[in-house]
């Protein structure tokens, strides 16, 4: 067993102290190939009516913040959806693949941004990343690859998927 363990005790002033931790895992294209390898995708934008929004909110118990949703129809059946969630400390773009019967096939995190101190709630801060997924090479703090620390919960993703399943039932299925 070869092990190398060293703690670098740096003076506090010299610590690497990023204000935001961010990773980009997948572009839209890569997420599509990961969830549905070998398939083709037809983009469609769905605009929700206020009645639909309310119905989704009621069915999922999760607030619907936007009335447009970026979706793709998958060749041979199924859907590919890109969505965003905002937590207290995190702003995450993720992709969900739905099977033809509406069940979840796979979830992939595409973009993960974490910060402390209110930035996440700032529309302008978030706006700089929106829509950057498809070809962006935006990478912050790329020298920090691995973080050990207590768990940040994925509850917002769980809620987001609940909302998307209701969205499927109400706006996509028919």
């Amino acid at each position: 067993m070869k092990t190398e363990f060293a703690f670098v005790a740096l003076p506090i002033s010299a610590l690497i102290a990023p204000s935001a931790f961010a990773v980009q895992y997948l572009t839209v294209d890569q997420a599509q190939r990961s969830i549905y390898p070998g398939k083709s995708f037809t983009a469609a934008s769905v605009k929700l009516t206020s009645v639909q929004r309310k119905a989704i909110q009621q069915a999922s118990g999760v607030r619907v913040l936007r009335d447009d949703q970026q979706v793709w129809r998958v060749s041979g059946g199924g859907w590919f959806i890109v969505d965003e969630v905002v937590g207290k400390h995190e702003f995450i773009t993720y992709a969900v693949g739905l099977n033809a019967d509406g069940s979840v096939r796979q979830i992939e995190i595409m973009d993960y941004r974490e910060t402390y101190g209110g930035q996440i709630r700032d529309q302008k801060w978030r706006a700089q990343f929106v829509g950057k997924n498809s070809r962006s090479t935006l990478k912050l703090d790329s020298d920090i690859k691995n973080i050990s620390g207590a768990t940040l919960s994925c509850r917002h993703i769980t809620d987001g998927v609940k909302r998307l399943l209701a969205f499927y039932e109400i706006a996509l299925k028919h």
Partner: protein, 295 residues
Amino acid sequence: MRRCRPLLGTFVEIAAQARDEAKLVRGIEAAFDAVGQVHRLMSFHDPESDVSRMNRDAFPRGITVHPWTWQVMNAAKNFARESDGAFDLAVAPQLVAWNYLPRRGYGFNSAASWRDIFLRKNCEVFFCRPVIVDLGGIAKGFAVDRAIEALKDNGVVRGIVNAGGDLRTFGPASQLIHVRHPTKPTRVAGVVRLRERAMATSGIYFERRKHHGQYVSPLLDGRTGQSVRRLISVSVAAAECMAADALTKIVFALREEAAGLLAQYRADALLLERDGAPSWTFHSSCDTRDQSRFD
């Protein structure tokens, strides 16, 4: 290749390299499948999981569980015994009372503990008094170990699996791991270099909440039933992530008194105070290659 999926209630990230891409994709898929399997077996929330089945039915008759669940239960019991109950897999009633876990209406005896859990051959689990178990303090580490195994089995040559801060590396090169600051968790307070080794960190920064005017956290000292309120962070490095995961909880409760147990598992520990400065570090001295080093 670097992938991340929501599993085990957190974000599980797998970064890996292999000589050909097909192997790599297969390996990463198998690793996520292993984590998904642990999630399904050991989730407290899922009524179909082994953990839920045990909590419903292991008293008084006993039930058969998946070999992985049995293995984790066995390890959890050993850690409970070795830490004299500081690590306790039966603290779920308190976590339910504080709303960290959902109310499921399980019966329990408030005097019961991990000592009432019996593991028999053929993967049978039996409670001799009704207890409610939660494997939240150890299952993540076990999942990381199974994911690493899946990567290796598929011919992946190097990689790292990180389940919300509980991680393990393999391959020839060492990797830099940044440890969260105990009170400013999106900042970094320490850097650790790991090779072929696991590390887990426990802190309460994201999870502390008020209950009847008192701060509580899901980290409990099983001996007293009191929750940890100190805003510190404990990191433990060990060969296996399951051991690292369980040992962080023990060091949180026992601090320096955990040294003997750490040495037994050839583990290293790092305790950061609320200002981010290390207040206690422990290195197991095994053979010289294993010897840890402080700069």
